[in-house]
């Protein structure tokens, strides 16, 4: 018998520190599998955020730098420009990318930086205990929206993929989910495409991954997956928003 599924080489042996059922782990694995498949682990530099995935440097078996909150795209820009032969990706949560780091992501995309962004949208600030994020759904209860998000005072959940798709410098933008094997297969394809865009020198690529945060949603992992499918996907539709052909 041959091993047909196992741990990718681009991950260390360190067990993830994420909560049971948290999709950060699945997202890490898919990125690592893509690095393995392209054989680019040794020339890849990841930038991890502030958020639950701040420890990503322990898990990815490549060079990883920790950025100040939201600033990963700025650091990625500097690295990619000074070492153009390296493959550079950022890994950012929704608090990181869509709140404190909004300026950085918008301008990195607008400059068409040749980097890949993995954006984990779990509709909440996970690490700090479940505060409302810009991506929190209308009516969603969080620590800082105890009666549910009310758009009158808190605005509507921000759609980063759609927003960044209006930018000419953004070459590849796609949104995926990880709640079932069929989605996971598609997610991996999207991540592979995003890195391919960078390998081809075609510019900015981002994959938004709809993810669960069972702990701060107050749901079991299985319930959280169901909640994501029933509530997040209708508001944050899956699919490709920008592809290299469109840009050409």
């Amino acid at each position: 018998m041959k091993k047909v599924f196992g741990r990718p080489e681009s991950l260390t042996d360190v067990p993830f520190t994420y909560c049971p059922g948290c999709h950060h782990g699945t997202a890490h694995r898919l990125v690592a599998e893509v690095l393995d498949e392209f054989g680019i682990r040794e020339k890849t530099i990841g930038i991890c955020p502030v958020g639950c995935s701040v420890f990503a440097y322990l898990f990815f078996n490549c060079d990883v730098i920790c950025a100040a909150h939201g600033r990963a795209p700025a650091i990625a820009t500097g690295i990619k420009r000074s070492k153009p032969d390296s493959i550079v990706f950022t890994y950012q949560g929704d608090g990181d990318l869509a709140s404190i780091g909004t300026a950085e992501i918008v301008h990195a995309a607008n400059r068409g930086e040749n980097i890949t962004v993995i954006f984990i949208n779990n509709a909440i600030y996970g690490m700090t205990g479940g505060q409302m994020a810009p991506t929190t759904l209308v009516g969603q209860v969080t620590q800082t929206s105890p009666y549910g998000r009310d758009p009158k005072t808190m605005g509507y959940p921000i759609k980063m993929s759609e927003m960044l798709s209006t930018i000419k410098g953004a070459t590849y933008i796609s949104r995926v989910a990880l709640t079932k094997p069929a989605y996971i297969v598609k997610a991996k394809k999207a991540i592979k495409k995003a890195f391919q865009v960078q390998l081809d020198g075609k510019g900015f690529s981002m994959v938004e991954i709809l993810s669960t945060c069972p702990t701060n949603w107050g749901l079991s992992p299985v319930e959280a997956s169901k909640w994501l499918e029933e509530n997040m996907i209708p508001y944050y539709p899956l699919g490709e928003f920008r592809t290299p052909e469109e840009v050409a």
Binding site: L11, Y18, C19, G21, K180, P181, P221, V222
Partner: protein, 67 residues
Amino acid sequence: MAKIIIDEERCKGCELCITACPKHILVMSEQFNKKGYHPAKQIKPEECTGCAFCAMICPDISIEVFK
């Protein structure tokens, strides 16, 4: 012939693999692992097709699949 190996110490008992297995041959063990979770365990191994759905959905990469 197909086989899976569950790393009980890495498993966090999230139950996602149980919902993903089309053959319904994964259950939670009564035992605890060192972290205090009930790990997943396979019953009726002869029915496993090696589809790897369980391994794909496992956020902690606790399952290896052999075919």
